[in-house]
C-alpha cells in the first residue's frame, strides 16, 4: 500500500497519489482502489487520508459559513448578494427587518442598497437551490466602516493559523477587529487607518508566503518592525 508522493509535493490533476487502503480527502478522488489528485496543489497524507491543498480554487458555499458579500440587486422581497461563489446568494427582507415584511410600507433600498457590503451566514444551501443568507445573529449585518481585502479562499485557514494563532497575533498587534469571510473577503476595522493598513499589509504578506513554515513568527516580527517605523514617523 504505497504512496507515490513526498510531503508537500506539488501534484497535478490526475497524478496517482496512493494505492490500496487509503481515503480520498480534499481535492482527491479514488477509482479502483487508487487515489488521484483532482486539482493542482500540495499533497499530504494524514491517518490514511490523502489530501491535496489546492493552490487555486474558488469558494464553494457551505451551510454555517460566515461570508462577506456585496449587494448586487434590490428585488421585491429581498436582495441578491454576490459572495464570490458560482452562485448568487439571496437575502430575504423578512430576515433583515425581523418583522413581517410589507411591500407597501418598506422601501428595501433604504435598508440595503446596491453596492453595500454585508457580513452574513449561509442559512441554507443545497445542489438544487441557490444559497440563502441570514443576518439575524450578533456581529452580522451591514458593514459601515473598515477596509476590505480579498485573498484566495483556500488561504483563509492560513490566515487563521494553528488554533487561531496567526489571526490573534495580528489582532493584538494592530488593535484591529478582523472578520474573515470564508469566501476570501476579509474585513479589517481599526481605530485609525494606520492600524488598518498595517493589518492589511500583514494579511497580504500571509497570502504571498502561505506555503512557508514559521510564518506566524515572521508576521509577528514584521508587525513589530512596521509599528516602530510608524512611531518614528509620528515623532
Amino acid at each position: 500500500m504505497p504512496t507515490y508522493f513526498e510531503k508537500k509535493q506539488l501534484v497535478t490533476p490526475g497524478e496517482l497519489l496512493a494505492e490500496g487502503d487509503y481515503l480520498a480527502g480534499n481535492n482527491a478522488y479514488s477509482e479502483e482502489n487508487k487515489i488521484y489528485a483532482s486539482r493542482i496543489g500540495l499533497a499530504d497524507c494524514e491517518n490514511k487520508k490523502v489530501n491535496v491543498v489546492a493552490l487555486r480554487s474558488l469558494y464553494f458555499p457551505k451551510v454555517g459559513d460566515i461570508v462577506i458579500g456585496t449587494v448586487t440587486e434590490v428585488g421585491f422581497s429581498g436582495w441578491n448578494i454576490d459572495i464570490k461563489a458560482p452562485y448568487t446568494a439571496l437575502l430575504r427582507a423578512s430576515d433583515v427587518l425581523s418583522r413581517p415584511f410589507k411591500p407597501q410600507n418598506d422601501e428595501l433600498s433604504q435598508v440595503l442598497n446596491q453596492g453595500d457590503l454585508i457580513v452574513a451566514k449561509i442559512a441554507s444551501y443545497d445542489r438544487s437551490h441557490d444559497p440563502q443568507l441570514t443576518v439575524g445573529e450578533p456581529g452580522l449585518g451591514k458593514i459601515t466602516r473598515g477596509q476590505i481585502i480579498k485573498v484566495t479562499p483556500s488561504k483563509i485557514p492560513r490566515v487563521i493559523g494553528r488554533k487561531g494563532a496567526m489571526i490573534s497575533t495580528i489582532k493584538q498587534e494592530t488593535n484591529c477587529q478582523i472578520i474573515l469571510g470564508l469566501n476570501g473577503v476579509i474585513l479589517v476595522t481599526g481605530k485609525n487607518s494606520d492600524d488598518e493598513e498595517l493589518a492589511m499589509a500583514a494579511i497580504q504578506k500571509i497570502e504571498n508566503e502561505s506555503h512557508t513554515s514559521g510564518l506566524t513568527d515572521r508576521i509577528a516580527q514584521f508587525l513589530k518592525e512596521e509599528k516602530e517605523k510608524q512611531e518614528e514617523k509620528t515623532k
Partner: protein, 248 residues
Amino acid sequence: MSEKPEKLINKKGLRLDGRKTDELRPLKIEVGILSNADGSAYIEHGKNKILAAAFGPREMHPKHLSLPDRMRLRCRYHMASFSVPERKSPAPSRREVELSKVIREALEPSIFVEYYPRTGVDVFIEVLQADGGTRCASITAASLALADAGIPMRDLVVACAAGKIEDKVVLDLFDTEDKVGSADVPLALMPNLNMVSLLQMDGILTTEEFEEAVNLAIEGCRKIYEMQKEALKTKYMLIKEQEEVEEE
C-alpha cells in the same frame, strides 16, 4: 505551401521538415499568461501557436442553458484572420463550429462536471498561427487552462495525431503532410486513466495501419503529457521558489 512537393519522405527516411517518422515537432508550453482569465495556457506545437483561456465555474448566462445536475462546458475554437496564408474570415466557419464541439467532448470526460450544478465553464481557444494538428494542440492547451483555473479534474487531457504518408504511418502531421498525405488520425488521451476521449480519422487505412497509427499517437501523447505536466508545475513552482528565497 502553394507547390505540391513530390516526395514527403526522402531516401534517408526523413520527412520534409527533417523529422523521423516517429518524431514530434518541437513543443513549448506556458501556463497562466493571461491575467484576466481564471486560467490560461499558450502552446507552440511546431509552427502552431495557440492561446487557450478558461473561465469559471460561474453563473450560467443565459440562464436557461444551465443544467440542473451538472455544469455546462462551453468551448469556442476560433482561428484568427491572420492564422493562415490566405485571410480567413473571422466569422465562425462550419469547420470551427465542428471543432468546438469535438474539443468540448474531448475535455468533458476529464472534468468533474457534477461538482458544480447549474454553473458554466467557458473555454476560449484562439489559433494565432495554424500549421496542421491545431485541434490536438488546442485540446492540450485547453486542458491546462482548465487546470490552471482550479477546476476539479480526473486527469489532464493530451492530444496528438498520427497519419499515413506515402504508405508509411508517421507521428504528428503538419499542414502539407496532412493535405498531401493519405490519412490523419487525431487522438486525445487521459494518460493516467488510460482512456481515449477523442478519436477521429479521415482518409483510408487498413486495420493494421489503423492500429499502428493509434499506438503511435498514444505514444506521442505520453511524450507531450510529460511536457504538459512540467509546464503546469513550472508556474506553481515559481511561486514556491520565490518564497524560499525570501525566507533565506
